[in-house]
Symmetry: C2
Subunit: 181 residues, 2 copies
């Protein structure tokens, strides 16, 4: 279980040591007009943004498992719409990474693991089609980035002139590789 | 437009200056067995994790607009399932924040803004019901966190004993406020 008391104490110390933050005068609009969509992976935490030279206030960051758009209108598309029409981003950079946990999974073994943890078969059956469609299609992280960039470029809800780009990151070294898409 | 050349150069320098990263021996499994779900807001970038005392390798981070679960099985739920059954997290902390951009939007003004940017009325009509349901329900960030924590606690796809917690962050100061839910 997480230690909430420790988190609260650590946070108090952080706030005390950063009196400059509230004076930065930042708004919800990122100054570089860029949104990054990347993976929830723990090795990218506290690393990816700095490894690309981006700071607080400059970009919006969206993170999910495998940085995949899974439906025509899903949380990623919705978030990008809010960022585009509400926070004036003009570019989106999708960043996949090598050694992504998503590649190890098949829908079958995943559902077995849920069953082993006591999840009801009815509940599992409810998600089976979506899980197969999403999980079993995810084999090569780079292809997934290319697919997502092309999908968003042709999405009817983003304005003309909006830029969609793709790249890959090495989660161990922090090395970024731009993909020509 | 983003300056890809500059990003690549900055990244090369970063990798050179961090030769210790690949030696950390991290995997996709976060050592603190914790997943954080929070907002894409630019003021939380390069701040939230540090403000709570979490480092690379310790937690998984999921980020979307307004840290909301918008469907019974959406990208957030899917990501948490992958984190739970694939990466062994045992706790989830949902962190909303004051002054969230989502509060300023109504579905109506949002759709007007899309129309003004040349999006076809047919495409807008396609998302109207979902947008109203999501956007017009989002009035108080704290209530949204409480709702999401309760929703996930009773979600049939997570195992018994999984911990779901909630908190709020001040995006200007970095101050964290734990919510008893």
């Amino acid at each position: 279980m997480i230690d909430i008391t420790k988190i609260i104490e650590t946070n108090k110390e952080y706030v005390k040591q950063h009196p400059e933050l509230p004076k930065a005068g930042l708004t919800s609009h990122p100054t570089k007009k860029l949104g990054i969509v990347t993976c929830m992976d723990t090795r990218l935490v506290g690393m990816l943004e700095e490894a690309l030279g981006f700071n607080r206030g400059e970009i919006i960051v969206i993170k999910t498992a495998g940085n995949s758009v899974t439906q025509p209108i899903d949380n990623i598309v919705q978030s990008l719409l809010v960022a585009t029409y509400g926070m004036e981003i003009e570019d989106v950079l999708i960043i996949g990474h090598e050694n992504c946990g998503m590649i190890d999974f098949s829908a079958t073994t995943f559902m077995e693991s849920m069953k082993a943890k006591g999840i009801s078969e009815d509940a599992i059956r409810m998600i089976e089609p979506g899980l197969i469609d999403w999980m079993d299609r995810f084999h090569i992280s780079e292809d997934n980035v290319i697919y997502t960039v092309n999908f968003l470029r042709h999405h009817p809800l983003f304005p003309k002139g909006m830029g969609f780009y793709g790249g890959m990151m090495d989660p161990d070294t922090g090395e970024f590789r731009y993909l020509e898409i």
